[in-house]
Assembly symmetry: C2
Homo-oligomer: 371 residues x 2
């Protein structure tokens, strides 16, 4: 009936409040179990970096991140069942911790992604292992670009790690942990919503799916349906808002020194609706989980949008690195190739999403809900 690991199917006699409480008790317990482990990991080797093997972080921070995402999602989707002020404050604090926790693993993934791309673009492996001569084979800028990206990302990661270590011991975090302790005991539910039948939750969860479907409807799926439309590189389409109020760059005078971040701004604006869809997709996934359902199709799409975000961030990092003072033209050239390569990954993720999505909005929700 379900393979969501943290829940058991809601018994038909359970009220909405009972189902939600059971789910949140489990997640809040996971939060409290993972917290001291995360603090230990972050602080055990002051100055040194912990080895991060999982894409979502080390065991402790990974589990913590997982619980934070699910509790925040449940408080959002089922907000009618909770005390309003409490839920609002809790979500705000959970979002703060989420941003703190997500940073270091994101830098680790970005580093792995960019260095792997560089190695792949630079490889001249002998025939037979499937990795033939790459686009930068023997290019003198490749090792310098690699060293530059490695250095900058290691620095960012170290900073994120220090910040996390500091905040994990802050009074703000202790207050959040107290909130989670409360949640293990009893979630602050409101009547009469909490007393209604468990089926009420499905209605609210379908709202989360509806929000996702509406956001996806705004995505240019038609355009990404065909491969190689240069969607993420150029021809970004009519729907993207121009970054500078629609004034063409030429109109600002060819001689004027354009801000180097203009292109970044333009791409960020283009990526924004996809990033938004990723958040809504996660919420829909967690809402299903609360109802004791699972939807492998949604999990797969979630991974596609994770990939979209990682590639988008990696492209931005390459563009930023290219503005480092005193780099050689050869290094900058390689960073340009890497940037375009990552934007191509962005485009590929959109194409993959556009191929996987269309079956869902019409059939998905009712099938999952009735499973």
């Amino acid at each position: 009936m379900t393979d969501a690991p943290m829940t058991t199917p809601a018994a038909s006699t359970e009220t909405a409040g009972e189902t939600l409480s059971r789910y949140l008790t489990g997640q809040a317990s996971a939060f409290l179990r993972a917290l001291p482990q995360a603090v230990g990991e972050a602080g055990a080797r002051p100055g040194a970096l912990p080895s991060v093997n999982s894409p979502t972080g080390t065991a402790g921070t990974g589990e913590l991140l997982r619980a934070v995402r699910r509790i925040g999602g449940a408080l959002h989707t089922f907000d009618a069942v909770f005390d309003n002020a409490w839920a609002h404050e809790s979500r705000s604090e959970l979002r703060w911790l989420l941003n703190l926790l997500a940073q270091e693993p994101a830098y680790v993934r970005r580093s792995a992604r960019l260095l792997a791309a560089l190695d792949s673009l630079s490889s001249t492996s002998p025939a037979g292992d499937g990795a033939g001569p790459g686009m930068l084979a023997g290019h003198q800028g490749a090792p310098k670009a690699r060293a530059l990206l490695d250095r900058q990302l290691t620095l960012s990661r170290t900073r994120a790690h220090s910040t996390l270590l500091q905040e994990l011991r802050s009074s703000r975090l202790h207050a959040l942990a107290d909130r989670m302790t409360l949640l293990v005991g009893e979630a602050p539910l409101v009547q009469p919503m909490a007393g209604q039948s468990g089926a009420t939750l499905l209605v609210q969860a379908s709202g989360a799916f509806g929000a996702l479907a509406a956001a996806v409807q705004g995505l240019p799926l038609q355009r990404v349906a065909g491969a190689y439309h240069g969607d993420a590189l150029h021809r970004l389409g009519a729907t993207a808002a121009p970054p500078t109020g629609g004034v063409p760059v030429q109109a600002r005078g060819a001689g004027a020194a354009a801000a180097p971040g203009d292109a970044d701004t333009a791409l960020a604006a283009d990526d924004a609706p996809w990033r938004r869809a990723r958040i809504l997709l996660k919420r829909a996934r967690y809402a299903l989980e609360v109802c004791g359902r699972s939807a492998p199709e949604l999990d797969a799409l979630d991974q596609v949008l994770d990939r979209h975000q990682d590639a988008s961030d990696a492209a931005m990092t390459a563009a930023t690195a290219a503005r480092t003072p005193r780099i050689t033209p050869a290094t900058a050239y390689v960073l340009g190739v890497v940037h375009a390569d990552q934007r191509l990954e962005v485009e590929a993720a959109r194409h993959a999403f556009g191929r996987q999505w269309p079956d869902l909005p019409h059939h998905g929700w009712h099938e999952w809900a009735s499973a």
Copy 2:
């Protein structure tokens, strides 16, 4: 029965020699008509560049190129029907002229392609016209990269034009024109092949198609079948020969200054079988034309491979421009993006070929031949 413009269907009573002679008379006449026009075009404005509107050159050189390709193709495919030494020498001279004629229009197309790509990548058109903010919007390197490419390609084009002008008045060209005059009168055919029925030509033409099919079988169609496999950027595959005898670049010492052309060599090796397929495809097309047949599917595939070659050449030009001394890192970065963008076009052309080809080898030839 056919829409090939230069031929009429072979009457069933015609011998192979008669059909071929009729075809070659037509093409050689076109050659001789176009030649003085081409000389006039090339020389009319010494120092100035003629306006080239057609992708294959101005009217005169375009017609000349068209005839040269077809005569050379016919002499190759139906070589058993011609005097051996004469056909061999003629093909060698036609190839020489082909290379001369093809250069200037290729530079014109390359310039249009690269500058359009740069403009598209740099555009910040207002929403509504389908061209949103591009990847280099406002990037300070874009105008410099544009000026650099424009300058270098204009120079190359001027040189190609001068060389063509010089050679069009050479004794070597006069000798070739004499050969074409001979061809208008009577092609040097050999018996008994020339006396056989016209159907013999179909057998020889099917040989041209067989050579194409064999070459395509060597292409990694399986790998390009899925979009976004990074085929032309990296992961170039097991079949590509390593450019330096299989010695990984690392083995040559990270400190050693690698030749800047290594990546170009690697990519050229990867593109070579596709370039070869393009030549064989044109030969198959022209062979069908001799037989009074046409195959729109082959014409479409020919255009795809033309696009493959143009994008491959444009990518090489961007990489070469990035090695210009004293350019700024911002310019080099943009050229890296442009290079990757053109390699993406290479990949897109391969993907398009891989989608269009599979229906042909099994059914194509017999259908066309019996049409």
